[in-house]
């Protein structure tokens, strides 16, 4: 049986937030209430572990909206599997950040 990465509660919370549709750093901070000094490094670690993937917004879109481009995050297949395992470990995750939350915002 392959070893599955065990996540801390914070990392699981960030992963759950990304899965719920909070796909950039500030929205995850706002949703989870975690400070910037926690969220961004956590996202980098998750990215290094290939549980999430990031991509920069196209410059043209940012230019149209007259703002700097931002970085978006997305769950990978491995991240989804790990999140499923984490949900079993932290059953309140899904209730803390339901998937509908982001869509309604």
């Amino acid at each position: 049986m392959a070893l599955e990465p065990k996540l801390s509660h914070t990392a699981a919370l960030v992963l759950q937030a990304v899965d719920a549709g909070f796909i950039y750093g500030f929205s995850i901070m706002a949703m989870t209430g975690l400070p910037s000094g926690t969220v961004y490094p956590a996202m980098r670690r998750l990215e290094q572990a290939e549980l999430i993937r990031s991509h920069w917004e196209r410059q043209s879109i940012a230019d149209t909206e007259q703002r700097p481009p931002r970085k978006y995050y997305k769950l990978t297949a491995a991240g989804r599997t790990t999140l499923e395992t984490s949900r079993k470990r932290y059953p309140l995750l899904a209730r803390l950040i339901p998937a509908e939350e982001a869509r309604t915002r």
Binding site: Y24, G25, G37, P41
Partner: protein, 502 residues
């Protein structure tokens, strides 16, 4: 005090927040800095937009935004901590130029310590080289081919001493014979004792060591001078032996001093010299003559040799040959330099000495880089030369005396061999060092197939662990790819070397 107008306050806060993010970005590792700076700036815009509804209280809004910016410091600290914990252990030193120099310096220190600790080596190292008094010669019969064979009769010396001499101002004679020696009631042996003129060491210009003061020497017994070898081996370099009386051929003699190291140059391999007036020296048998040339005599010398024609007591002419002590035997330093000279001559036979055979496929390194590279090679060579000196002296003299044939031979062979092969290593090592960071290129990989030599190159590819260069060594040199090539890596390779310092 009048509060600041809102636009001024907002501008000040923006400037402060911008500065905070800039400072935080400086704390992030350089390779990741642009990415983090971009992300923080992007997020800051959104944070500011999100806080805009709090516009009723601008101070609270700016406080939220500033706390977001302060969080960037925690991001940077977290990155630094993570990078430190996951750093490759000793990676910056591995295969680097400082590591190489440290190894060489360690070897040098080790060989130097040995040369200090081993007594024989210490004596050899402190030997200052040719120290014979200028104009001191050893005279032998011109017919004899061997310097070490006794060829001179004492009568001849007496004749020379009796007549007025223009070319020589002092003569000394000695003859070596095996004699029994009683050191104490329990210790006895047979030594090579030289019965010598009392002025032997004065003529040679070598002052005795640990000499017994005149008032203690008392004229009661003949005076005996021990060789340094016997003093070290039989008496463990005990200076207390000077002044004691021992029996040589059943005759009591007093030890008055220790012969200097240079006394090795006197042929006959004497263990001790029994200094006696000429009247006490037996005229029978052959011995050796040491003489000192006058200024005029020295002007007759050519290549350390001087021819002497003389008449004996029966008015028969004899030819003699005088050989300068200064030319007799090379000192350890001279042997070493001769070995180094031969090693430099032989080096092209074992390695290519050219350092410019590499073609830099993309660009030439700057002159500073090239100067550093040459400086590194020079430092290696200097360290190697020092190691070779101390190592050769250690090997040669840890159990042999200075000027002993075996010691001289071992020192010559070892200094030559160490220099030759260490220089070969230095050149080969230099060719496998990245021109940018001087690390050794590693991870050899076989590229291409021999059967496709004419379609594409085949050979070995090595990579610099710092991510600067690739070294391509052709397996089968062709007209278009005959020498190894350096290929510079651009920034697109950075992700492979995340932990390295470029």
């Amino acid at each position: 005090m009048t509060p600041l107008p809102e636009p001024v306050l907002a501008s000040l806060c923006r400037f402060l927040q911008h500065c905070l993010l800039r400072v935080a970005s400086l704390l992030v590792p350089a390779a990741q800095r642009p990415d983090w700076w971009r992300e923080w700036c992007g997020e800051l815009w959104h944070v500011r937009q999100a806080c805009a509804p709090l516009g009723s209280d601008p101070l609270q809004a700016e406080s939220h935004i500033t706390s977001f910016c302060l969080g960037a410091f925690q991001d940077a600290a977290c990155l630094r901590r993570h990078g430190w914990l996951n750093r490759p252990r000793f990676a910056p030193l591995h295969g680097s130029a400082p590591q190489c120099l440290l190894w060489l310096a360690g070897l040098l220190l080790l060989s130097f310590l040995f040369s200090i600790l081993l007594p024989g080596v210490r004596a050899a190292r402190s030997f200052p080289g040719a120290q014979a008094r200028p104009g001191t010669i050893l005279i032998r019969d011109a017919v004899a081919n061997d310097d070490s064979a006794p060829t001179m009769a004492f009568d001849q010396v007496r004749t020379w001493k009796r007549d007025s001499q223009r070319f020589v101002d002092a003569f000394a004679f000695y003859r070596v014979a095996a004699e029994s020696v009683v050191l104490s009631s329990r210790a006895r042996g047979t030594w090579q004792i030289a019965q010598a003129s009392s002025n032997l060491f004065a003529v040679a210009g070598w002052p005795l060591r640990n000499i017994l003061p005149h008032h203690e020497a008392r004229g009661d017994f003949p005076r005996l001078v021990l060789s340094e070898r016997i003093w070290l081996q039989q008496f463990a370099a005990n200076p207390g032996i000077v002044g004691t009386v021992m029996l040589v051929d059943s005759r009591p003699v007093r030890v008055v001093g220790i012969a200097p190291t240079d006394a090795f140059r006197l042929p006959g391999n004497s263990d001790a010299w029994l200094l006696e007036p000429d009247s006490e020296i037996s005229p029978s048998g052959r011995g050796y003559v040491v003489a000192h040339l006058t200024q005029r005599g020295r002007s007759e010398m050519w290549g350390g040799l001087v021819n002497i024609a003389s008449f004996d007591s029966q008015k028969l002419e004899h030819d003699f040959l005088g050989k300068s002590f200064a030319e007799q035997l090379p000192a350890p330093a001279n042997i070493y330099w001769f070995g180094v000279f031969l090693a430099f001559l032989a080096l092209p036979a074992v390695a290519s000495v050219s350092l410019a055979e590499y073609s830099f496929s993309s660009h030439q390194p700057s002159w500073i880089r090239r100067a550093i590279r040459l400086g590194f090679l020079a430092a290696k060579i200097v360290l190697i030369l020092l190691i070779a000196y101390f190592l050769s002296v250690d090997l040669a003299y840890w159990h042999s005396s200075v000027f002993s044939p075996s010691g001289t031979y071992v020192q010559f062979v070892s200094s030559f061999a160490v220099c030759l092969f260490a220089m070969r290593w230095a050149l080969l090592d230099q060719r496998q060092r990245c021109p940018v960071c001087l690390r050794r290129v590693t991870h050899p990989a076989q590229v291409g197939l021999v059967s496709r030599t004419f379609l594409s190159w085949n050979g070995t590819e090595l990579i610099c662990a710092g991510g600067h260069t690739l070294l391509h060594i052709p397996g089968l040199p062709t007209s278009w790819f005959s020498t190894p090539r350096w290929l510079y890596l651009d920034t697109t390779w950075d992700f492979l070397f995340a932990g390295s310092v470029r």
